[in-house]
């Protein structure tokens, strides 16, 4: 990894209110927050590790485990739910060997279900590595994902 964690730490003043900012930047850079990174953040902001751990586990966007190379988010907002996104998420997970949202053993994929992406007019929606897939279906999404897996 060529990202310098010290550079991230120095982005914000050493105050408790910047804890979440720092954890977000670390999550974005490394795909997860390692125990070492958590310690560094705590030293810098003056927050006890227990509190930082509470924050890391409370918010949905933080992960203490590495995430996969490819990120698939399936929206489970109301509009998407009515148009069958629950089945789409289940079918996708089954096809790549996941029982529930999470990361595959080979670290190829992370599948997350998200509450609402605010793109309800495109329902059902999935986001694959940042790209919105409007009006997605199980076959379309599975095809896209299996293509990424063979790359």
């Amino acid at each position: 990894m060529d990202i310098d964690i010290d550079e991230i730490i120095e982005r914000y003043p050493g105050k408790p209110e910047y804890l979440i900012f720092l954890m977000q930047d670390i999550q974005a850079a490394f795909n997860y927050i390692s125990p070492e990174a958590l310690t560094l953040v705590c030293d810098h902001t003056g927050v006890p590790e227990s509190q930082a751990y509470a924050v890391a586990t409370f918010y949905g966007s933080f992960s203490l485990e590495p995430k996969g190379e490819n990120m698939v988010q399936v929206c489970l907002g109301t509009a998407c739910h009515l148009k069958g996104s629950g089945l789409i998420a289940e079918n996708l997970m089954r096809s790549i060997g996941l029982e529930e949202p999470g990361t595959t053993e080979d670290l190829k994929f992370t599948v997350e279900t998200v509450n609402c992406l605010g793109a309800c007019a495109l329902a059902p929606v999935a986001v694959v590595n940042g790209d919105y897939q409007p009006k997605v279906t199980s076959p379309k999404l599975m095809k896209k994902v299996s293509k990424l897996g063979s790359e």
Binding site: V55, G60, L76, C80, E90, N91, A121, L122
Partner: protein
């Protein structure tokens, strides 16, 4: 391209006069009769390919070269609202409305419309009922039934260009407040306007400000709740993406009114484009001296910081949001003390949502009397709704308060596909409820919706038809809330999962009529005992569906049947031999090998192998898969 003075050369504005002079110069630099191509770059249109359309239009214009009499510009804007017809392109000044535009259409648009002034017939909107071809925005019922106040600039201005926003009147309200009014007069104006919080609770905004303002000369904060987590709602997203200056301006006004020098915008991290446009708006406003020290020579200092949400629905609750801004776990705390006394960092604070702040800008710009003249007696102004689900015209609509539900769904929304009525409309997100077709003439305002067992909420409006199961919908919302409960208080932590478990049993055809009675008493306990509104309103989904759709619950429990054909344990898939062409698509898609049959002959499904994953239905192009 448009001839405008670029902002790089503009020094900080030191007074109201300098702002108005700049606005005048910017306006004069643009010819209103100039041809302008406006492309919607809202999230919906972008996902449908509008950036490709913009590029193709630019290329087509360049290729057309000297043949063009006037030099047209291309402007990219925020969401025009009519998301289901995107990508949208509007040709100004005539206002010609093109929908579902593809990059391949760019040449025809330039050759026919820009060069010859003729419309491209195939890109125009056709009225779904009358079949008439409508060429301008004003003629289209989706727009004609709306009253745009909060959304007035969205689709008109380039949200990344402060000069364009200034031309449309941005910061006029803030300038008036700061230079010509006392803070107490600003509070009074907002109070008199009758504005109520658009986040859902509908608390009078001016009253809230007054409570914080009375603390005198101590450190205070204003905050913007942009954590729009309600599934099915995207109004705030569109406002931030399409007109971020309206939010910034509203917060300047609020800061001045209560005596705060710092503002915080708490935005969901799921909204990257909103964050980007807000950051640009803040930087540009700072560069012009509209944020920072001594704004417009008024002696008032104010600046705004952005906090990104980290994925917790409960952070939309005001006390939880403030804890999150402090860098802590976003758990709500009991009130009182109210945030207007002890809020962020223990200081008096005012939190309003995005749409409320945008309304404040308009109220100060046009006067409270004007605003108080809109809407109903107790619900003033307009409301932006995200109209989604089983409705023809999906998108963002802004209507005056008090409009009938029927007008929104049938006239603006264009009705329900394949039906002449809606079965239910869900409003208020997980805290709200479902309203039935019988309530179609209900006026949409804060108090009427609550009386009907739902609520305004932030403005999600989800239309449902006969294929949507009310037990499933209630189960869905409870599942959502169970997952998002912070777990601090036990009525919510323990009660919501019990409610959901009961509904899970119902959806499997299990349960008794007594279970329904138990649901009511549990719902009461959760409502009364919960610490914040997440738990306090959690039972609404089940209570409102029970109130209006009890027969559906009974069909599940007593007849072991899901009338809408949704609940997995109560349905079976089969193939209509008439419609099946034997194309093998479902055969290949089925993960269980439950489909059998020879090619070009009707297939069948082995029910014992079927896991009801719906793959066959999704892969069938002939509508041959049936659910019973």
């Amino acid at each position: 391209m448009q001839a405008t003075a670029k902002k790089t050369g503009q020094a900080k504005l030191g007074s109201l006069e300098e702002l108005e002079q700049l606005r005048g110069e910017l306006t004069a630099a643009v010819d209103p009769d100039q041809t302008l191509i406006v492309v919607c770059h809202g999230t919906g249109c972008v996902a449908n390919g509008s950036p490709g359309v913009t590029e193709a239009l630019k290329k087509a214009l360049a290729d057309a070269g000297e043949d063009i009499k006037v030099v047209p510009g291309i402007k990219t804007t925020g969401c025009h609202g009519f998301c289901s017809r995107g990508p949208l392109v509007i040709i100004k000044p005539a206002g010609i409305f093109y929908q579902q535009v593809k990059p391949a259409d760019a040449e025809d648009i330039v050759a026919q419309t820009i060069q010859k002034g003729e419309t491209v017939e195939r890109l125009l909107y056709k009225h779904p009922q009358t079949g008439d071809t409508l060429s301008t925005t004003e003629e289209i019922p989706f727009y004609a039934g709306q009253q745009r106040v909060v959304l007035q600039n969205i689709g008109q201005i380039d949200p990344t260009d402060i000069e364009d926003a200034l031309r449309a009147g941005a910061y006029a309200g803030a300038a008036k407040a700061l230079t010509a009014m006392q803070p107490s007069e600003v509070v009074e104006a907002v109070t008199k306007s009758g504005l109520r919080g658009r986040g859902g609770a509908g608390f009078p905004t001016g009253v809230k400000w007054g409570l914080a303002a009375k603390h005198g000369d101590v450190e205070k904060y204003v905050l913007c709740n942009a954590d729009e987590g309600d599934p099915g709602a995207f109004m705030d997203r569109s406002v931030m993406e399409g007109d971020p200056h309206a939010v910034v301006e509203g917060m300047i006004i609020g800061g001045y009114a209560i005596g705060a020098n710092e503002g915080y915008v708490y935005v969901r991290a799921e909204y990257p484009l909103a964050i980007k446009h807000l950051e640009m708006a803040l930087a540009d406003a700072r560069a012009l001296g509209l944020l920072g020290e001594n704004i417009l020579g008024s002696g008032f200092n104010f600046d705004i910081r952005i906090n990104r949400g980290a994925g917790a629905f409960v952070c939309g609750e005001e006390t939880a949001l403030m804890r999150s801004v402090e860098g802590k776990v976003g758990e709500p705390v009991p009130r009182p003390p109210y945030p207007s006394d002890k809020g962020l960092f223990g200081k008096p604070s005012v939190l309003n949502n995005v749409e409320t702040w945008a309304n404040v800008s308009r109220i100060l710009e046009r006067g409270w009397e004007w605003f108080a003249g809109l809407g109903t007696e107790k619900s003033k102004g307009t409301k932006v709704f995200a109209l989604v689900g089983k409705v023809n015209n999906v998108g963002l609509v802004e209507v005056p308060m008090g409009i009938k539900l029927r007008n929104i769904v049938m006239d603006i929304g264009g009705g329900v596909p394949g039906s002449d009525h809606f079965k239910a409309v869900q409003t208020g997100g997980p805290s709200g409820g479902c309203l039935p077709w019988e309530d179609a003439d209900l006026p949409v305002d804060f108090d009427s919706l609550i009386a009907a067992g739902s609520m305004m909420g932030s403005g999600g409006m989800i239309v449902m038809d006969d294929r949507d199961c009310m037990v499933d919908v209630a189960k869905y919302f409870l599942g959502f809330l169970e997952e998002e409960s912070c777990g601090k208080c036990f009525p919510c932590r323990l009660g919501v999962p019990r409610l959901r478990e009961t509904l899970v049993r119902f959806s499997k055809g299990e349960g008794t009529a007594e279970d329904i009675d138990d649901l009511y008493s549990l719902a009461e306990a959760i409502k009364m005992g919960s610490l914040c509104a997440l738990g306090g309103t959690a039972p609404n989904a089940v209570l409102s569906t029970l109130r209006y759709f009890r027969d559906e619950y009974e069909a599940h429990i007593l007849e072991h049947r899901c009338p809408a054909g949704v609940c997995k344990d109560l349905i079976t898939y089969s193939i209509d031999p008439e419609a099946c062409t034997g194309c093998h698509a479902c055969f290949r898609a089925c993960p269980q090998n439950a489909v059998s049959g020879e090619k070009k002959k009707p297939h069948t499904i082995d029910e014992s192998l079927c896991i009801r994953c719906g793959m066959c239905m999704e892969s069938c192009k002939f509508g041959a898969i049936q659910v019973v």
